[in-house]
Amino acid sequence: MESRGRVALACVLAWALPGAGHFYLGKRTKGILFLAIVLTTFLAGLGLQGRVYLANAEQPLSYLATFANVALGPLDLVGRQITYARILYRFPSEMEPGLYQEIQDRNRERILAETHEYGTTFVLTAGLMNILLILDVFDFGIGRKS
């Protein structure tokens, strides 16, 4: 069982870089494998024209999807930059016509791609994988899992 500080740091590292929490707790092979798997899933998703979600009050489920994206840590910023050419978390309102139109155009461009749904699923899955990794690191840390 690790100290509280080490467990907290491991969880933060796991969020910041997939597999880093396992690596920090001494599970080095697993850490590297997790990094490779989650990174491949995320990059394949972006390559398949997937997109990261923006929180939109008119679509409540978009909050859950955005949360899954944010669970990827700084990698999510890369996804946002590639998808929207800016770091944006909230879908712009029609009160901001320039930004609203730009985001709509960028979304449309990706949605029209044949592999868009697959890509978005890959991106979301990468985030969900990382949530499981953070929980796994926590379990290792508190000694629930050996």
């Binding site: 697993k30 798997i37 491949t40 394949a44 390559g47 398949l48 592999t115 699923t121 899955t125 990794l133």
Partner: protein, 59 residues
């Protein structure tokens, strides 16, 4: 890459590898569990696809 089947296989392999690594410690067990999960995902997807093929979907 435009083949839906290959994309599905890639997804299954990645998810299988992830859960194999997450749930097993020994390499052999992890590979076995991951391969079983990936093959099951592909197999079940094909069965569902064939069942849906028989359904009248309108149009």
């Amino acid at each position: 890459m435009r083949s839906h089947f290959i994309i599905m296989c890639l997804f299954s392999v990645l998810v299988g590898a992830f859960f194999g690594t997450l749930t097993r410690d020994a390499v052999k067990d992890a590979v076995k569990a991951g391969a079983l999960l990936a093959l099951t995902m592909v197999g079940v997807s094909l069965v569902i696809a064939y069942v849906m093929f028989l359904l009248p979907l309108g149009g």
